[in-house]
Symmetry: C2
Amino acid sequence: MNAAPDRVPGPSRPGGRSARVQAAVHRAATELVCELGADRVTMPAVAARAGVNPTTVYRRWGTVAGLLADVALVRHDTDRPPEPTGALDEDLAGYAAWALADFSRPGGIAFFRAEVAPDPDDRRAGLARCLDRCAVRIDALLAKAAERGRVVPTRQQVIDRIIAPLYFRVVFSIPHTDEAYARALAADLLDHPDFRPGRAATG
Amino acid sequence: MNAAPDRVPGPSRPGGRSARVQAAVHRAATELVCELGADRVTMPAVAARAGVNPTTVYRRWGTVAGLLADVALVRHDTDRPPEPTGALDEDLAGYAAWALADFSRPGGIAFFRAEVAPDPDDRRAGLARCLDRCAVRIDALLAKAAERGRVVPTRQQVIDRIIAPLYFRVVFSIPHTDEAYARALAADLLDHPDFRPGRAATG
């Protein structure tokens, strides 16, 4: 459950009515974002699609932006990238493939944006949360490989060389942006004398 | 004048009333995008800020999306990247610095998006136009250096390694995204044995 406790009406028992309402509303919001685009989704339309009273949706989520941010949070918590193993090349390629799949699935970019800016008046807060979460995962992956003695790229290099081009390519629907492309971006980043396997970490 | 001739009322003489209206409306739209964000700009607000009758604005530009796309087109035609000289390192660094300045100026990202998708129902058309225009400029820069015998990166490498990270960093307000950073992205792309100066082009 991602909603703050004081915003959850009804029973808090997992699997209860509250959880069913959340699941139905999240599913309806996702479908409508895919069908109409995030800009055209309204709270009454989500309520109608979910078969839920609009008052319930307004009371629990407040605004469309708040609802999409909640969907994004739940997605982010339930759909995680592969656990890093310490094998840098495969971990980074797997992370790139996962990030592309995350952006590419229905509504992916809309939810990524919503997560970054759940509230237009509090953009920095959402941004900081999102970057923190991305950073934690990238850092964990790099730390695991570094423990094994690999010289690893920086978090910023992973963002510039893998995340940013995948984001740009999905946003602008550039053809041939597939899993092989994502993995190649990871391989390309590591195709540098500094990162060759067997090179001992220094400093 | 970027508006289609059949949509321009009044005199077509450059410097005439029509041009003054266009300039005032474009300036008002830019200011409001910066102050409110593109999602909150309305045609009546633009008209009021520009001191123009709302009917004129609706008749000439139709929708906010159409107006922002027109502003983007004019910006794109009047604010061009530096002419390539054939010196690859400086040309690419200069292009990167220009692209960052273009994204970073007030409303830059909003107008870039509007240009890519001037009409939500015709996203592909705007996208194709924008990528074509970017591609033409990048290709010209690379061709000029290739004429001088340099082995040059591909257009796609320039997009993935320079344009995409700058776009991502501006969209998500990542700190320290300045001209030096943009130039370093260009230098980093060319920091590969394939692209060292003096290496003869093959094939």
